[in-house]
């Protein structure tokens, strides 16, 4: 009888754990980065999957988010630094996803900061499904993805971001 109760308890604990695992965040280091397929400024759809084989920084930002805009020149430096190699083939990419709602505001910042990496948006502000998929609670937010599409860093900025990109490129 005691053994049966123990077995029952064990099953409950096991079930609770499975349940907790199921509710665990999708956006975690070691997980595959969910697909993003959104329109560029020109209107053509660009997918995150199309960047497989490169180390990709998925940068979630918006023109209305002051700290995000302030970070753009830093990202520009990082972008140029990791794409300076003699090889013409790009090994690092930034996949900028804007949570803007109005196209002119988005375009203005792209022009002002001479952003020359991928930029996509559905112009749906906080209602963008990508905000839900990527479990974004606040901006700025970013996810670093390795050549296989696996998340290797979440919300890294400055030196920590540079080091992680460098390490991922060497692999």
């Amino acid at each position: 009888m005691i053994l049966n109760v123990r077995k029952l308890c064990f099953s409950f604990v096991l079930l609770a754990n499975v349940n907790a695992l199921a509710q665990k965040a999708l956006i975690a280091v070691g997980n595959q980065a969910p697909e993003i397929a959104l329109a560029s400024v020109a209107g053509d759809t660009i997918t995150l999957a199309s960047q497989k084989g490169k180390v990709v920084l998925v940068d979630f930002w918006a023109s209305w988010c002051a700290p995000c805009v302030e970070e753009q020149p830093v990202l520009r430096t990082i972008y140029n630094q990791f794409n300076k190699s003699a090889s013409t083939e790009k090994r690092f990419e930034i996949f900028g996803v804007s949570l803007d709602s109005k196209k002119p505001a988005w375009e203005k910042i792209i022009r002002k900061y001479r952003i020359n990496w991928i930029q996509v948006s559905d112009l749906k502000f906080w209602r963008s499904p990508v905000a839900k998929t990527y479990e974004i609670e606040a901006l700025p937010f970013n996810v670093l993805v390795d050549k296989t599409g696996t998340i290797i860093g979440i919300n890294l900025h400055g030196k920590a971001l540079e080091e992680m990109i460098g390490a991922a490129l060497e692999k």
């Binding site: 918006a62 505001a105 502000f125 209602r127 609670e137």
Partner: protein, 145 residues
Amino acid sequence: MKNFKQCMLLFSFILLSISVKAQTKVEPWTDAQLMPTSQLAALINDPKADKPLIINIGPQAVIKGSVDVGPGKEKENIRKLEKMLSKEDKNREVVLYCGCCPFDKCPNIRPAFSLIKEKGFAKAKLLNVPKNIKTDWIDPGYPVN
């Protein structure tokens, strides 16, 4: 040694005064003028309730029935808000909201709320969106446009 102690004392006073100043930062709204999201959602969902004028002063008019003025940090939008308010009864309840970012980082709510106060709207409210419109309005399933 005495000098060191005096220095430390002075330093503590400076720190204390900075923290007191930070705590007493005056906002254009009072606590009573902050409307809870649940209260506004209930008003929108109640067909018999008198609806307040709900104005978006942020990036997008997310809330059901709200009118779009645009980010309050832009002078052009403040002029738009002024024009809109000039047609309204000053006793009407008006709810402003943004929801781009937490209150302390939002560049839009202060210029807009200062204007509505200046125009003498007795029932002016600011929607209490402490984090952003996703977490505080969309995620709980409140009505959207």
